[in-house]
């Protein structure tokens, strides 16, 4: 992501005007509390919704070395125009397209920067742009989207992204040209696939589209959608139950709802509505008060529901859309059929409220026991994540299998898992140490249902693997033991294996076939 890794050197200029800022620029942006400048990249530009001045824009920025969830729309005042501005290298100045996304266009309908463009297509659009050249210029100047956003290749040098960018900047003068472009794309599908492969070679690409899709098809659920549009989150805020939650990432809710100030979500059936009126009407009719599945665990006010993606398609899709708002690497490329969803709820007088969930492949080829796992942001840092993880391993214990979460993990996921692993393992090791029993990594894995690699990983993080008198031993340092004691004293929710009433569902080959 840094300039150093970019195959094309960038142009660095000190100082500039707001009008010169284009997508791809990197500059210092005021961020955080207390505010300080941090280097950030402009990912998108749109007219400011509240401003009277039509030329005033908002800038979607990604802070370098920060997680994408902190990306945000900022007012121009927060950009440091006096400092260094790193412009994207203009590789093909010819690809000057009318830089009007829908969001910058009429403003009536929020943006649908959809569709991808092959190189052929870009050419055709070029000619289109040329014919409507006058209008294009006018538009670009008035909207402060200069005509040099072309194909920079800062990030991964992949054709995918290049196309994505191109499509974002594609002209969408009228709905009719939009459909025209779509039709074009349909026609040259084959051609563009071939182009993908070629592009990979020339750009030293990291992955090919086919590989990507093949991976999606054959294995689990978490792969990043590298599309450019998806880099800009399309929702700002959701209202779910009594909570108002800022969203983190892009989620493919219907494109008509993109860039709404708030999306209203029914907290029981997870249906989504663009307006309060509709939510009210829906709530008037909706009878659901808990997730639509079988309760397999109940202890105090915490329950787990098991839901088959095949049987509860609408609910599971809604759940996935919701969780995609908070999971960067989740993909909704394929349907929910091959997954089981374990939904954790907390009960009160209104119903069983969704706190978090994890999904699990019905048949994991790589011994994953969790595909996606999420605690809703309003319930984070309360120990619920730990509960979800613990529950996933309880299921693995019943199945008599070792399990591991599907990779890649998110940063938060890694920390949660590490904390859980080390706590469980240290507790176990302290017991072993007291009893004076030798233990192998396999033993630990069998007792905890963690995979051996995760056990090893944890032992390394604890700095507990030592070489002593000619052999490897596990050494628990004082601080590790003290930390464990301290955390044991904390009052925490634990999973009670006795409260779990569950038998693993075995699916036949035919049940799994057309997934």
């Amino acid at each position: 992501m840094s300039a150093a890794s970019s195959p094309f050197p960038s142009t660095i200029v000190v100082g500039g005007t707001i009008g010169s800022i284009v997508v791809g620029c990197k500059l210092q942006v005021l961020h955080g509390q207390p505010p300080e400048y941090r280097k950030a990249e402009i990912l998108s530009i749109r007219p400011s919704p509240s401003a009277d001045d039509a030329t005033r824009c908002e800038y979607y920025v990604h802070y370098s070395d920060y997680n994408k969830r902190l990306d945000e729309w900022v007012a121009p005042e927060r950009l440091n125009l006096l400092g260094e501005i790193e412009y994207p290298k203009i590789k093909k100045p010819k690809t000057v397209l009318a830089g009007i996304g829908k969001e910058t266009g009429k403003g009536s309908e929020p943006g649908t920067p959809s569709g991808r463009m092959s190189k052929n297509n870009r050419k055709s659009n070029l000619s289109k742009a040329a014919t409507t050249g006058k209008g294009t210029e006018a538009a670009s100047s008035s909207l402060a989207v200069p005509g040099t956003p072309g194909a920079n290749n800062k990030r991964k040098a992949s054709v995918m992204e290049e196309e994505g960018e191109a499509s974002q900047e594609k002209a969408e003068d009228t709905p009719s040209t939009q459909t025209l472009a779509d039709e074009d794309e349909d026609e040259d599908m084959n051609g563009s696939v071939a182009l993908d492969a070629a592009g990979d070679e020339e750009g030293g690409g990291i992955f090919s589209k086919e590989q990507e899709i093949e991976k999606l098809r054959t294995s689990g659920s978490m792969t990043q959608n590298p599309h450019e549009v998806a880099r800009v989150k399309n929702l700002n805020m959701i209202q779910i139950g009594k909570h108002e939650v800022e969203t983190w990432y892009f989620s493919p809710y219907p494109v008509e709802y993109a860039y709404l100030p708030v999306l209203y979500i029914c907290e029981f059936c997870l249906s989504y509505f663009p307006a309060v009126k509709q939510l009210g009407r829906h709530r008037h009719k909706c009878t659901l008060q808990h997730p639509p599945g079988n309760e397999i665990y109940r202890k105090d006010d915490i329950s787990f529901f098991e839901i088959d993606g095949r049987k509860q398609k609408v609910y599971c899709r809604n759940l996935c859309l919701l969780s995609k708002l908070f999971l960067d690497h989740k993909t909704l490329y394929y349907d929910v059929d091959p997954f089981l969803f374990y939904v954790m709820t907390m009960r009160d007088d209104d119903g069983a409220h969704l706190i978090g969930y994890f999904s699990k492949e019905k048949e994991s080829s790589e011994q994953y026991n969790v595909a996606c796992i999420l605690t809703l942001p309003q319930y984070q840092r309360l120990g619920f994540g730990r509960l979800l993880i613990a529950f996933s391993y309880e299921l693995s214990k019943v199945e008599k299998r070792l399990g591991s979460p599907e990779k890649p993990l998110s940063d938060l996921g890694l920390l949660s898992y590490r904390a859980f692993w080390s706590e469980s393992i240290v507790t176990l090791l302290v017991e072993q140490q007291k009893a004076g029993i030798e233990t192998s990594i396999d033993d630990i894995a069998q007792k905890t249902a963690f995979q051996q690699i995760d056990v090893l990983h944890t032992l390394q993080n604890l700095n507990a693997l030592k070489y002593y008198h000619g052999q490897y031993v596990i050494v628990l340092s004082d601080t590790v033991i003290k930390n464990a004691e301290r955390s044991a004293k904390k009052k925490k929710r634990e999973v009670d294996p006795k409260a779990l009433v569950w038998k693993p569902i075995h699916f036949t080959a035919t049940q799994l076939r057309f997934l």
């Binding site: 070395d65 902190l70 969203t247 009719k285 993990l409 192998s440 090893l456 070489y467 601080t479």
Partner: protein, 513 residues
């Protein structure tokens, strides 16, 4: 890393037992050795690009710090705000929830639970209020529930009839078409009002370019039309069938083995079951026998006491039976002869034995077919005498032109002389008088020193083979002359002794070949 080369970086064996120590228990632990022997770091599992992110690294180093120094610095990765709550929660969620005492079992889908899927928005609300205001005082007002019902009916039917409406918005169904579908009682009631709702619905639908008024996910619908792979809004594609895993040969073999094993186990089990059943029956019979014996001895006693001296007929009869039972219920006998096998087959293994019988039968039939044209002598009580060894050394030559059969043998004599002994076999049905060089003629020639043809004839049928002790003068002219005609060049070439035994078959010369 300097010392890295001295030890191979290798993985820890997962099965190797590791001793667990407290750090205080082993003060002599040399950290540097551990460093030398360090195990390659496992991967975190976080995306490579994100691994270096500022907040993650900060959190990781904080947790490392707490592991080494005990500093309890809980560092969180900052996330966007989620702390705000709404005030009007009760406006939306007012239905009280009472949890059942048992675990909830629930299989209704979301569609079943949300009532009419059409939810009116602000535009609808405005229109509806307007509409109701305009209605005359006497006219029925349209409430929200019915409005939604009508709208949904329009939407549903339209989508069923013209699923690709957004491609050709000219196909929007007319109200007349839609009206026909208002068949459910609830809908029948609002049929007339629906006519006034239709223009409004039509307007909205056209405005949406023919799409659903309520935006839908870009999922299954229009999948065939939109094949744009990289559209980020396109989600929940149907997964093609998973590639069928080819069953490897090894799999098949092991399946075969397991199947066989199972079958064997099963048959062993059924055998044992039968044995146990038999033993039970036997035990029962012993008990009965015992009882009978008791009874009988009682009877005998009564008789003795009462002085009855009848024939013990019934008694003897019983005895016979008993003996029979005793015979059959002896130890397991493996049947040795056909009789036993037959009796066994009639009991439980009939099917298998019938198979055996039929195969024997077919074998016999086959043989009979082979033997057509041959006389079967095996049933003949007559048996040939065993042929003496010396006789067995004769070889038979192919039938001569004159219909004679000639046998010969080679013999080593004293001083290395080689003798060639001959024999003549006579075709069974040859009429001696028919041929000028008949067999009898030559025999008469050969055995001229005998008393006459009669003497020879007398022995002709008595002997199976010609006696070796017959004195034959080899050097008689006739004999020599005859000898010259015996063997052709090829015959001579094939002259050799062999250990094979040739039977001279006078009775049926056809078999000699």
């Amino acid at each position: 890393m300097k010392n890295g080369a001295r030890f191979r970086n290798r993985k820890i064996n997962n099965k190797q037992p590791l001793h667990v120590y407290k750090a205080v228990d082993i003060p002599d632990l040399d950290e540097s050795v551990s460093l030398q022997r360090s195990i390659p770091q496992t991967e975190t599992g976080v995306d490579k690009e994100e691994e270096s992110e500022h907040h993650l690294q900060a959190a990781i180093s904080a947790s490392n710090l707490s592991a080494t120094t005990g500093e309890a610095t809980a560092l969180y990765i900052p996330t966007p705000d989620a702390s705000r709550k709404i005030d009007n929660y009760r406006d939306f969620y007012s239905r009280p929830f009472s949890e059942p005492s048992t675990l909830i079992r629930f299989s209704s889908t979301v569609e079943d639970c949300i009532g009419c899927p059409y939810n009116m928005d602000d535009d609808d609300d405005k229109w509806l209020i307007d509409f109701n205001e305009k209605r005359a005082a006497g006219e029925e007002k349209l409430d929200e529930d019915h409005f939604e019902m009508i709208m949904w009916q329009f939407e549903k039917i339209t989508n069923e009839r013209v699923p690709y409406l957004q491609l050709d918005s000219g196909q929007i169904p007319l109200f007349e078409d839609l009206k026909a579908t208002f068949t459910v009682p609830q809908l029948l009631a609002v049929k007339t009002i629906a006519a006034t709702v239709y223009p409004y619905w039509l307007e909205r639908r056209v405005k949406r370019g023919g799409k659903f008024i309520t935006p839908q996910l870009k999922a299954k619908q229009f999948e065939e039309v939109i094949r744009n792979e990289s559209d980020p809004y396109l989600c929940f594609r149907r997964r093609e069938s998973k590639p069928i895993r080819k069953t490897r040969r090894t799999d098949q073999q092991s399946i075969e083995k397991l199947r066989k094993l199972r079958m064997e186990m099963e048959s062993a089990r059924s055998l044992l079951e039968m044995v146990s059943r038999r033993e039970k029956v036997r035990k029962e019979s012993l008990v009965l026998e015992h009882m009978i014996f008791d009874q009988r001895s009682k009877v005998r006693e009564y008789r003795r006491n009462l002085g009855i001296k009848d024939d013990d007929d019934d008694m003897q009869h019983q005895k016979k039976k008993i003996r029979k039972i005793g015979e059959t219920s002896a130890t397991i006998r493996i049947p040795l002869n056909f009789k036993d096998r037959d009796s066994l087959s009639s009991q439980d293994d009939g099917r298998k034995d019938r198979n055996g019988m039929s195969s024997i039968e077919s074998e016999l039939a086959k043989r009979r077919e082979d033997d057509v044209g041959w006389e079967d002598l095996t049933d003949n009580p007559y048996q040939q005498f065993p042929v003496p060894y010396a006789q067995q050394c004769f070889k038979t030559l192919p039938q001569q032109r004159n219909g004679k059969y000639i046998s010969f043998r080679k013999r080593m004599g004293r001083g290395g002389r080689i003798h060639l002994d001959r024999q003549f076999a006579r075709p069974r049905n040859s009429a001696p008088k028919d041929s000028p060089h008949g067999y009898y003629e030559s025999l008469k020639d050969m055995f001229g020193q005998y008393d006459g043809i009669n003497t020879f004839d007398k022995f002709r049928f008595d002997d199976d083979s010609y006696d070796q002790d017959d004195i034959v003068d080899d050097l008689r002219d006739g004999m020599i002359r005859y000898r010259c005609t015996l063997l052709s060049e090829t015959d001579l070439r094939s002259l050799s002794t062999s250990t094979r035994h040739h039977f001279i078959s006078i009775g049926h010369p056809g078999h000699s070949q």
